[in-house]
Structure formats: structure tokens, C-alpha cells
């Protein structure tokens, strides 16, 4: 058996470089752009407004020093990176955004968005504290309605129910497609490396034509299924199977994933916001269109919700489905909700499954790589 990389990955290698050049042309052709940061951002509304949703840069270390000019140093790197990119115009997607959409997933972001609103028109959606209570669901619907009104006013359009239904169908189909991509990782050996899976999911934000992205993913899935048939893998058969969870780990912030694979582990699932979190559930098409959209996004199992039982139950289920040997939970320094939830998750998995669990708290710098390598290798030795 030879270890190799699927040929279809070529599409995804080029996604970000292509996006950086095509966005200027799109803007010149009059396309309206809405930048967003979080998987809580209801992209159906952006599409229904005739605009293009674009993920904004937040996962590189480079602009953190600029971010720290205005923000406390002990903030999480994701917030400092987002803000640093925004004020330096180093992120083309921020530069070309007509409107920026933010969600108050933590106090740090909430206050950072106040500063950010000085450089761009923004709509900040205030999240309720839970996805369980009826009052919170009703309140969130008003936030989604308000956001719809802001989009309509900003772009001088009317967002029709039909347009929301249409956008929902497109994005639901994409969610199902990405779920079937993830399922290929149940094979041993894994047909795709975890870093490549991350690259595909991350590229989703940089291929602006939804049909084009769907075609690329379909081609990749076909190739992966062929590889599974032939027993070809990206990592050796029998490699320790790890589920990664916790904070977003987009390209630029994939340090821990890289160290895991360099140490010989196979990352079989990425549960976080850079990974599968946004693709897991669909909008219920039988509901009122706006209600369906609101319900799907609010149900996101983010640690900003209290309690957040869905994430615990989901991980226990993923451990079975993906035949995982261990769970690695990543927290950015200063991310209090994921940091505390790590303990809750560890105890839950311990009780339900006895799953080996490693919590890693780090930031975007490489300063702790050697130390992390030791901990990761020790974890893999432990589950050997």
C-alpha cells in the first residue's frame, strides 16, 4: 500500500490564491460582498439578498501585533488576528466587504466589534445565552429579522421568502455533500489527510460559486471512494485515529493538527468551526423560511451556549462512528468558554466512553511546538 494524496486536491490548493484575485474583478463587476467571521452567520440571508458571503481572515499570526495596539494582549489570538487584519487592510476580503456580519459569541468579540464598526458598516447579531429555551429562540428570530432588514437597507433590495427558500436548498445540498465527504474518513486507512480535509472545508469559504464548489467536492469524493476500494491511504492503515475538537483551527492556525499528523496520527474528524460544525445540520425546509434559518444557526453546538449538551452528545456519537482512539480538544489562550467546557467534555467522554482525551491550550505562535510535540507523542504512546 502506498501513501499518497488525491489528485483532486489540486482544486483546493488553488482556492485561496484564486479567491484573492477574483474578488477584485467581482467587485468591479458590481457584486455586493458581505464579510463574516463565524458559523453562526446566516448565509442564506446573504445569498437571498443577492450578495456573496465571504469568510474574513482571522487565523494568521502576522497581524496580531497590529491587533494588540488596540486590544489587550491576553485576548484570544483569533480576535486579535481578526482586528489586526481589519485595521491594516491586509485581508482583501475585509477590504472589499460592503458590510461585515458579526455574532457575539464571546465578550471579547462583542467589544472588538465596537471598535471594528469604526472602519466598516456592520451588523452585529446578539446571541442569546442558550439554544434550549423557547424565549431565547423567539429572541433570536428577532435578531435574524433585524439582520434581514439591515441587509435589505444596505443593498436596497427586498429579501423574498422565495429567495430564502432557494438559498436554503443550495446550502442544504452543500451540507449533505460535505457530510458524505466526511464519511469517507471512516475508512482505515483514511483516504485523505486531516490537513487536506481542513483545506477542503476551509476552501469552501473561498470558492464563491456554490455549484463550482459542489462539483469539486463531488470529484474528490469519487476519487476518495476509489482509493478506499483500492486500500490507498493518506496515512498508514492502523494509524491512531483522532477526532479534533474545540476552537476554530483554520489555515494558518492548524499547528496542532500538523503536529498530530507529523507524529503519525490520522485525524479522522474535525468537529470545530473550521471543520464540520457548520455542515452538521440542515435548515428544516418544512418550517417558515426565516424560522427554519434562525433555528438551524441557533442550534450550533458552540461553547458560548450554556448548557451545551449537544456538543457532548455529538462527540460521543462521533467517537463511535469514526472509530476514534482519542479526542484532542484545542483551546486558544483567552477563550474561557472552550477552556472550561474542555473539563466538562473530558468528564462526559470519560464516563460514557472511556475515551483518551488531550486538552491543548495554545495560540497562533510556534513557540510551544516542541513542548506540544512531546505532549502529543506521549498521548499517542499512551493510547498505543
Amino acid at each position: 500500500m502506498s501513501l499518497s494524496r488525491p489528485l483532486s486536491m489540486a482544486h483546493f490548493d488553488m482556492a485561496i490564491p484564486h479567491a484573492a484575485t477574483s474578488i477584485k474583478q467581482m467587485k468591479e463587476a458590481g457584486t455586493k460582498v458581505v464579510g463574516h467571521y463565524c458559523v453562526m452567520a446566516p448565509q442564506e440571508l446573504i445569498l437571498a439578498a443577492g450578495a456573496v458571503p465571504m469568510a474574513l481572515c482571522a487565523t494568521k499570526e502576522e497581524p496580531i501585533a497590529d491587533g494588540e495596539k488596540a486590544l489587550p494582549r491576553n485576548f484570544c489570538p483569533l480576535i486579535k488576528s481578526s482586528y489586526g487584519f481589519a485595521i491594516t487592510d491586509k485581508c482583501p476580503f475585509f477590504l472589499y466587504s460592503d458590510l461585515v456580519m458579526g455574532e457575539t459569541t464571546c465578550d471579547g468579540k462583542k467589544k472588538m466589534f465596537e471598535l471594528m464598526s469604526q472602519c466598516k458598516p456592520m451588523v452585529v447579531m446578539n446571541l442569546p445565552p442558550s439554544y434550549e429555551r423557547e424565549a431565547d429562540k423567539a429572541y433570536w428570530l428577532t435578531e435574524v429579522e433585524r439582520t434581514k432588514a439591515v441587509l435589505e437597507e444596505q443593498f436596497n433590495v427586498t429579501i423574498t421568502e422565495e429567495a430564502i427558500v432557494e438559498a436554503t436548498k443550495v446550502l442544504n445540498a452543500e451540507r449533505r455533500l460535505v457530510q458524505s465527504l466526511a464519511k469517507t474518513m471512516q475508512a482505515d486507512p483514511v483516504p485523505l489527510s486531516g490537513l487536506d480535509l481542513l483545506k477542503v472545508l476551509w476552501s469552501r469559504n473561498f470558492v464563491f460559486d456554490r455549484a463550482e464548489f459542489a462539483a469539486q467536492v463531488e470529484e474528490l469524493i469519487a476519487e476518495l471512494e476509489e482509493r478506499i476500494q483500492k486500500g490507498e491511504g493518506a496515512l498508514p492503515k492502523g494509524a491512531k485515529r483522532i477526532i479534533v475538537t474545540g476552537v476554530p483551527t483554520g489555515l494558518g492556525a492548524e499547528k496542532v493538527l500538523r503536529l498530530l499528523e507529523e507524529s503519525g496520527a490520522a485525524i479522522v474528524y474535525i468537529e470545530n468551526c473550521a471543520g464540520m460544525k457548520q455542515f452538521l445540520t440542515e435548515v428544516d425546509e418544512s418550517k417558515e423560511p426565516l424560522q427554519g434559518v434562525a433555528d438551524k444557526y441557533l442550534a450550533t453546538p458552540c461553547s458560548c451556549m450554556s448548557p451545551n449538551k449537544t456538543r457532548l452528545e455529538l462527540l460521543a456519537q462521533l467517537v463511535d462512528e469514526y472509530n476514534a482512539d482519542g479526542v484532542v480538544d484545542i483551546t486558544w489562550q483567552g477563550c474561557h468558554t472552550y477552556n472550561v467546557e474542555s473539563r466538562i467534555l473530558r468528564e462526559y467522554l470519560q464516563e460514557k466512553k472511556g475515551t483518551p482525551f488531550l486538552h491543548i491550550e495554545t495560540d497562533y505562535s510556534q513557540g510551544d511546538s516542541e513542548q506540544l510535540k512531546t505532549r502529543i507523542q506521549a498521548f499517542l504512546e499512551m493510547i498505543a
Partner: protein
């Protein structure tokens, strides 16, 4: 030494000292030297010397030495080693061997404080790691921390234990755990006229408090043993401070410094036994 014997060797290339353990299936021969500026060269010299003294003439070494396993900070740089393993796995194994009488119970906790790292490791009675914690990237509460503060006090790190004993009853609390801030705090206290004995005793208590907080999640049942290993375990005053903080007895095995090297040699031995060619 009989040249017919088989040997395995474990080398623990730590940040401060390199430890070597030679094993013939029955006895261990251990030695250490400072890591110096070229740990790889130091380790090579140490290995050559140990082989010559304990095992055989260099010409026969190849036949009798079945495997060399490396661990510790420098494990990857030791090109002559057959395998590199983490210090967490090796300390677990080594500590289980050193305290085998104490490990009749299912689970034990090892507190290991080395030159740069502090760790808590839960092992079963075979020395297999079940869970672990490790300090973050800074050197708070480790051997390096002790070295820096000893220097500020005009002491050798090896003097600390005795000095602390003299100050236990009037230990002065040290608040800073960042190595640099602690150095400033210690200097400030000296200027205020606080005795070195009281400062060192306070320093040891603060290290004990920190390490106990770190391993709190891993603490085993009341009757399970707690072992203390690594270079800092030579400091009896810290061992006592940890006992006081835990309110439980702590075992410091006689060769606690060598736990990592011994564990590496044991892993090498087990892997050799499992290999039908030998």
C-alpha cells in the same frame, strides 16, 4: 562483566543533565553528566564510557547491546538510538520499576519535576501511562526556576534543601511564579532584610502549591501511592513541602533522577523480548 550477556540502554537527554541506564535484565547501572552545550556529543561520550566500563570491549559491543532507546528533550538528536520515546512514557515505566513494592494498587501518580518541565503522570502497576498533565511552555516551578532563584540568593541549587530546613518555621510566601518575576521578588525580599532561609522555605512551598494544583485532577484514591521523580526530587525540602500540601505521604525512589533512563532501557528490553530474532 560477562560478554555473553544481553544489554539494553536507556538515555534520558534532559535539558539540564543527561542520564544513562544500562540494563541486563536484572541490574541497572546508572550515571549522569550535565547536558552542556552539545548534548549529543556528551551523550555519545557517556555511552562510549559506560559501554567500555560495564559491558564489553568496543568490538563486542554490537553483539551484546540489543537496543538503545532515547528519551527527554534531546531524544531526537541522539542518532545512535534505535528509538525515541517521550519522557512521559519512560518516566512512567521507570518509576513503576523503582517503586514496584509500592505499586500493588491499580493506579499511582508520579509527580516529576525536571529542568524545564513539571509533569503529573498516572500509571497502572505495569507502568503504563493512563493520563498525564504537563506545565505550559514556561519554566515556572521547575529546576531552572530553582537555579535562577538560587543564584539571586548567592546559593548553589544543591544548598537549597538544607537552607530551607532552617527556615521552615518562618517561611516567607513568594507570590510570583514566573521565573523572572520571582527573581525580582526574591531580590526585593533580601533588600527588606528577610533571611535566605525564610525565602527558600517560602519558595519551596510555592512550588509545591503550584505542582499540586496542576496534578489535582489526577490525584488517585487515598491509599494509592504518590511518587516524586526527576532532578528536583533530590531536594528533600520540596518533597516535604509537597507532602504537606497534599497531606499525604510521597515516595521518592532511591534512583528517582534516573526514572526516565531506566524506563527507556526497560522499554527497549521488552521490545527485544518480543522480537523473535533475539
Amino acid at each position: 562483566m560477562s560478554t555473553q550477556q544481553s544489554w539494553t540502554i536507556g538515555i534520558d537527554a534532559g535539558s539540564t543533565a543527561i542520564k544513562i541506564a544500562l540494563y541486563n535484565g536484572q541490574d541497572f547501572f546508572c550515571g549522569q553528566r550535565p547536558s552542556g552545550w552539545s548534548p549529543r556529543q556528551e551523550a555519545q561520550e557517556m555511552l562510549d564510557k559506560a559501554v567500555k566500563e560495564q559491558v564489553a570491549a568496543p568490538s563486542e559491543a554490537e553483539k551484546t547491546i540489543k537496543a538503545i532507546y532515547a528519551t527527554g528533550y534531546g531524544r531526537v538528536s541522539l542518532h545512535f538510538a534505535n528509538k525515541a520515546m517521550t519522557e512521559i512514557a519512560c518516566h512512567g515505566k521507570g518509576a513503576a520499576y523503582l517503586a514496584k513494592e509500592a505499586l500493588a494498587l491499580e493506579k499511582s501518580l508520579i509527580i516529576d519535576i525536571g529542568g524545564q518541565d513539571a509533569k503529573g503522570i498516572v500509571i497502572n502497576n505495569q507502568g503504563r501511562v493512563l493520563d498525564f498533565v504537563m506545565n505550559d511552555k514556561c519554566a515556572a516551578g521547575t529546576g531552572r526556576f530553582l537555579q535562577v532563584t538560587a543564584q539571586a540568593l548567592g546559593l548553589e541549587v544543591t544548598d537549597l534543601s538544607t537552607i530551607a530546613e532552617e527556615g521552615t518555621d518562618r517561611a516567607h510566601p513568594i507570590n510570583a511564579m514566573c521565573t523572572v518575576f520571582a527573581e525580582s521578588e526574591v531580590i526585593g525580599l533580601l533588600h527588606k532584610g528577610i533571611s535566605r532561609q525564610a525565602i527558600v522555605a517560602g519558595l519551596h512551598q510555592s512550588i509545591a502549591r503550584r505542582v499540586v494544583a496542576m496534578v489535582a485532577r489526577l490525584l488517585p484514591r487515598e491509599e494509592s501511592p504518590i511518587l516524586f521523580t526527576g532532578g528536583v526530587s533530590c531536594n528533600q525540602s520540596i518533597a516535604k513541602a509537597i507532602e504537606a500540601e497534599l497531606q499525604r505521604p510521597v515516595i521518592v525512589p532511591s534512583q528517582a533522577t534516573y526514572a526516565g533512563a531506566i524506563g527507556a532501557a526497560l522499554y527497549a528490553w521488552e521490545d527485544q523480548k518480543g522480537d523473535s530474532r533475539t
